[in-house]
Symmetry: C2
Subunit: 136 residues, 2 copies
Amino acid sequence: MPKKTQRKERETYTISELAREFDISTRTIRYYEELGLLSPERTSGNQRIFTKRDKTRLKLIIRGKRLGFSLNEIKEMIEMYDVAGETEQIKLTLKYGEKKLKEIEEKIKELEMLREDMLSIREILIKRLKELESKK
Amino acid sequence: MPKKTQRKERETYTISELAREFDISTRTIRYYEELGLLSPERTSGNQRIFTKRDKTRLKLIIRGKRLGFSLNEIKEMIEMYDVAGETEQIKLTLKYGEKKLKEIEEKIKELEMLREDMLSIREILIKRLKELESKK
DNA sequence: CTTAAGTTTTACGTTTACGTTAATGTCATT
DNA sequence: AATGACATTAACGTAAACGTAAAACTTAAG
């Protein structure tokens, strides 16, 4: 039997690896853990080990931030992923999810409106520019 | 000649009227002025008078905020509306506008991804719920 | 003219989301 | 075992975006 590669699963990351990858500080990552947004394992020497799952979460957190959600809102959304629970809990989660879904769809609409605004301003500017250039 | 109605244009608002309408504090409105996002006229007694234009701006500011833009970014976007200037200035504004447009389109995409995530979580939850209910 | 409700500026306070520094510990390599 | 690179906790600092309170002024209504 051939020796199996030692590489059982090196699908873990250190804090600075993730920090570099997402272009944030290690402090930020620790802060997210402090708020309960992440809960990485630890080595025997107490250093954080991040799994693929943690990495996915971090990506979610960052996306949420970019979209104007507070860390608290993001936490609530993330917790939806972790509902192990009973029917009542699930129903509540579903309800909250519907609310968030509506908010998200609202935001999409608003962004599209903003986009339209920007596009028409662009048109105006281009027109003005052409006038100026032709009078030159 | 019939007496014209005194109502030449009462299309103005006090600070608290706007505050109520947008559900923000008067402090917030004053703060936006302090940052140069608004510049309302004043009465003889130094009280702020907001025009329709100011109101439109305020709406824009609030929308921007909801979408995760900083007040500074919002200010820069608003200033695009006010470019009276020369070709060079217009070109710069256009360039900045293109950048913002891309950012906005990025955000729309991200929100749509988030929406997909939420939808699939919902599916999972609903499925789990049905299982639990059937085993009852 | 008086009064109440609203407004002004000034200034210090608060929350969120980290930045920064210090003192100490861990890990991999030589 | 020693060196250098990275990690840990603790704690104070900071910028953005307002909140809050005080003291004085305006305005609309009666």
